[in-house]
Symmetry: C2
Subunit: 360 residues, 2 copies
């Protein structure tokens, strides 16, 4: 069986960490009987260098022809990166938003897991996180403020900027269904986060989510205001199973949740469309300050590859094996610098990749 | 000297905690030579009970005639409160938003302070908060998504909701000036938080803030994306002095910051207009579950009264004295239930008020 995987190495540490994920995919393929062929795709800084824009239509077409896309990281150092010569609105952010829209990647899954072995890095007190936590943020990714009309113009002589936030019931329904489906495979709880005491879009959100919930009688639904959710993630992250929310709230809350785990270098993410196609990437950034040094943590990207095998490529066993190998490597005491602690063995990017391969 | 103070007791624990703040104001008046006269104003549930709406024009007019307004808390138990019979968009949220707009309270100050005596309640590990932290959020309160046009209507047969986010340069400038002015009296650092990689309003925000910064060469300005700020508040709250941000981001971040302190019952807030007038209220909610039991923590409201004396009423010495009295009460080991810890003396709402009065 041959799987065609688009690869966006990206900027900063992107190329290094993606290389390790490909190594792990190849090893899993050997063991579980599939073959990966990789197609390199350019996005962000790498695309600007070659094409002058962060994303070309050709790249979009090529991505669509793949079974799934694995991505390193996009973005970079404000001072040295090529795209900072571009207008803000034409920067790789734009490439990222465009690819999300063009590939219709409306469902962004961001797990936030506290690994028992890594609780030393967690900023929260042990009494709060005892036993660990494991939540999944389901962020709507192709609507809301990110894709609304916007403009900046003079109104009565005063410069005025407008952004707009729109959601329709279809957009809300499809992401809600995804969240409930995932919850059914987890602890059967959905916390839908909105600002229904202020926003019309949140009131519609709440209404549609309640309709969808009727088809999932086993799942407990609760509504939470976004300001409260920002508090609860710090106060008691264990209370959450699946958090369902719109694009901008999801951006803020998923980053907060990832920091609450204390180990962003461990967190995968998936962006899915209506089919099985998805784009997979680590939650962390491109870390230009440590790029090229061979010290970046590849685990988030490797776990993203595991998500890809599970959600897009029908290779659940290989996905399980990769996740188990990552757990085993942690139990065996190997750490990259970002998650290093006393008594552990510090390893670089490539060695971490090898250690995980050995355990598959 | 006579000061005319509007009092909105509000819902839930509001009446209890405001009573203690009035007691403390009266004591401070005796010592520092001013006289408070109080005018009761109705907002939220209390106003719905009497007038059927959460805020009348008469209340607005009365509030404007006061030197400042002190408020308990608005909101309540979804099941029992009178306003839950109202349409969502007509609920007390609406009263709160309307009074902010009518009184032009564009500058919302929310301090987040970790008291050394209360670090047991802080959810963050001690190594992160050693030495405590003290940051001030300056949230824009009368613009953005909260006050944009909104509507819900069928578009091509699909129910669609719109909200809009608008800021003009004047709105941004006046709040930025407030933030820099406050920073000058503090540690001279402003972190302006936006989402300039996506929103036009954030790009204008950043531009205007940079212009304002030129008039404050002593103040260090940094820009931070909102998702990153949500992470940094958990990772290292000590890095912040003044956080300047727009309305919705400020709502989320100020609640997160208040939870990071671990003691919301201690946090005051002020909402100011162009003049010295302001509305002062605790950061926490109306806590309907403990209303009427005499156990709520009145300190946030008492500290709000201190902020009122400082910002609106030119009584800095009295404000200092109240803040010192609160610190002393904590040092002396008195605690309400929400901040109780081993070896301390647990007291109720009224006794806490008395203890603070004794120390003025
Ligand atoms: C780079 C930025 C536009 C992007 C977003 O806000 O979606 C990033 O923060 C993310 O969460 O993937
Ligand atoms: C009640 C609600 C409308 C309000 C807000 O969002 O501003 C509250 O959360 C606050 O922060 O004062």
């Amino acid at each position: 069986m041959s799987l065609k995987i688009g690869v966006i190495k990206g900027d900063g540490i992107g190329p290094e960490i993606v290389t390790e994920a490909m190594k792990v995919l190849d090893k899993a393929g050997e063991v579980y009987g599939f073959d990966c062929s990789y197609e390199q795709l350019l996005l962000g800084g790498a695309s600007i260098d070659v094409h002058g824009v962060p994303l070309t239509d050709e790249t979009v077409a090529k991505a669509k022809a793949c079974d799934a896309v694995l991505m390193g990281s996009i973005g970079g150092d404000a001072k040295t990166s090529p795209w900072y010569k571009l207008e803000p609105s034409k920067r790789p952010e734009a490439g990222l938003l465009k690819i999300r829209k063009e590939l219709n990647l409306f469902a962004n899954l961001r797990p936030a897991v506290l690994y028992n072995e890594l609780k030393g890095a967690c900023p929260l007190k042990e009494e709060i996180t005892e036993g660990g936590f494991d939540l999944m943020i389901m962020r709507e990714l192709t609507g809301g403020l990110y894709f609304g009309e916007r403009k900046t113009e003079e109104v009565d002589g005063v410069m005025t900027a407008f952004d707009s936030l729109t959601y329709n019931e279809d957009e809300i329904r499809r992401i809600a269904i995804r969240a409930f489906d995932i919850a059914m495979k987890r602890r059967k709880k959905v916390t839908s986060v909105d600002k229904a005491n202020v926003l019309d879009s949140s009131r519609l959100w709440r209404k549609v989510v309640e309709e969808v919930a009727k088809d999932y009688p086993e799942v407990t639904l609760e509504h939470m205001l976004v300001d409260n959710c920002a508090m609860q993630l710090v106060r008691d992250p264990k209370q959450f199973d699946v958090i369902l929310t719109e694009n901008m709230f999801g951006d803020i809350l998923s980053d907060e949740a990832s920091m609450v785990t204390g180990s962003i270098g461990m967190l995968a993410s998936a962006s899915l469309n209506e089919t099985r196609f998805g784009l997979y990437e680590p939650s962390g950034g491109s870390a230009p300050d440590i790029a090229g040094q061979g010290i970046a943590n590849p685990i988030a990207t490797i776990l993203s590859a595991a998500m890809m095998l599970r959600f897009s490529l029908d290779q659940d066993k290989a996905a399980d094996a990769i996740e188990a190998a990552v757990s085993q490597v942690l139990k065996d005491g190997y750490r990259t610098g970002d998650i290093m602690s006393d008594g552990c063995t510090k390893v670089g990017t490539a060695r971490m990749g090898d250690l995980i391969c050995e355990r598959i």
